[in-house]
């Protein structure tokens, strides 16, 4: 059960980070070079999708994943949903990384932390499922 809680904790951390990226300007430590620049990424047109900040979709993904991993421990239907949700998470990260590298040409470190947290949530979750 501890691994499910670890997945939920990683997901909650991701949610808090995504809320920060949605609502506040990036901190100065995020500006390392013209390539490693959160400002460049977060002020680009790709920072919005369907009229909402892209990070807001991260909040939704992490919030659902947080609840999902806790409920999936002993509910088969939720476990199936979490598998699909994980796929969406990985696909979204892949698209976002592509956009950063090839369309914007800059990398946002805080966004990368959020991407790593997506993988951490999924890794903890599937490892926990494999042990139950």
């Amino acid at each position: 059960m501890k691994l499910f809680y670890a997945a939920a904790a990683a997901s909650t951390a991701g949610m808090v980070l995504s809320i920060y990226l949605t609502l506040l300007p990036p901190p100065q430590f995020c500006e390392i070079s013209s390539f490693l620049s959160c400002e460049t990424v977060l002020s680009s047109p790709y920072a919005y999708f369907l009229g909402l900040p892209t990070a807001a979709y991260g909040v939704v993904w992490f919030a659902v994943a947080s609840s999902g991993v806790l409920l999936a421990a002993d509910r088969k239907a939720v476990a199936k949903f979490m598998t699909i949700w994980s796929f969406f998470g990985v696909a979204a990260v892949a698209v976002l990384v592509y956009v950063e590298f090839f369309l914007i040409g800059s990398l946002c470190i805080l966004c990368t932390v959020a991407h790593v947290l997506v993988f951490a949530v999924i890794a903890f979750y599937f490892y926990a499922k494999s042990r139950t």
Partner: protein
């Protein structure tokens, strides 16, 4: 695991799962009540057009003027074919490089406004508001026209992907150069000299 403990864990998980769900609901309500940008609406006029590129005609636009006191009840209609060289820059008040560039822009303005270069700054509305942008204008003493692009419509029309971005526009309204990121005084001055001689 004993059945009683299993039931307790199941209930605990259910309650814990409600916390992120509640946070999400609170977040959505907050977003609806106070959107992160002044306006989250997508652009209707500019999004369907490809962004302006070097060599193409600069796109005209009309935006609200803003100064150190805030949004003015006055609009600036930017017409790139007015027969003068234009230095059009895109900034965000929170952008560190834009702040670092402010003294350079001031120096360029002092040097080139008398030589017939028009300076226009487009201040973006992403993650900021007119009050903060006015404070930026006040603090850095921008003395040329600054317009406020709340929806980033003009940012999108010009294909601006980050701030600061500089467009140098020829007398006949063509985009001669697009420079992204912080620049030296010499780089911008050199480009302006070339355009003034044309």
């Amino acid at each position: 695991m004993p059945k009683k403990k299993q039931k307790t864990t199941r209930s605990l998980n259910l309650y814990l799962a409600l916390i992120p769900a509640a946070m999400l609901v609170a977040f959505i309500i907050y977003l609806v009540v106070t959107p992160p940008a002044a306006n989250l609406g997508t652009t209707q006029n500019t999004s369907i057009q490809p962004p302006a590129r070097t060599g193409e005609s600069a796109k005209p636009f009309t935006l609200n003027l803003i100064d150190g006191n805030g949004l003015k009840n006055e609009k600036l209609s930017f017409n790139p074919t007015a027969g003068e060289v234009v230095l059009l820059d895109f900034v965000h008040e929170w952008c560190r490089f834009c702040r670092e560039m402010a003294p350079i822009m001031e120096k360029l303005h002092d040097e080139y406004s008398g030589k017939g270069v028009i300076f226009v700054t487009v201040a973006g509305g992403y993650n900021t508001n007119p009050a903060k942008t006015a404070e930026f204008i006040r603090n850095y003493g921008l003395s040329w026209p600054v317009v406020y692009d709340s929806n980033l419509d003009v940012f999108k029309a010009y294909g601006v992907q980050g701030t600061p971005t500089y467009f140098l526009i020829t007398k006949d309204g063509k985009i001669a150069t697009k420079l992204e990121g912080a620049q030296t005084y010499q780089t911008l001055a050199q480009q302006l000299e070339i355009l003034l001689q044309q």
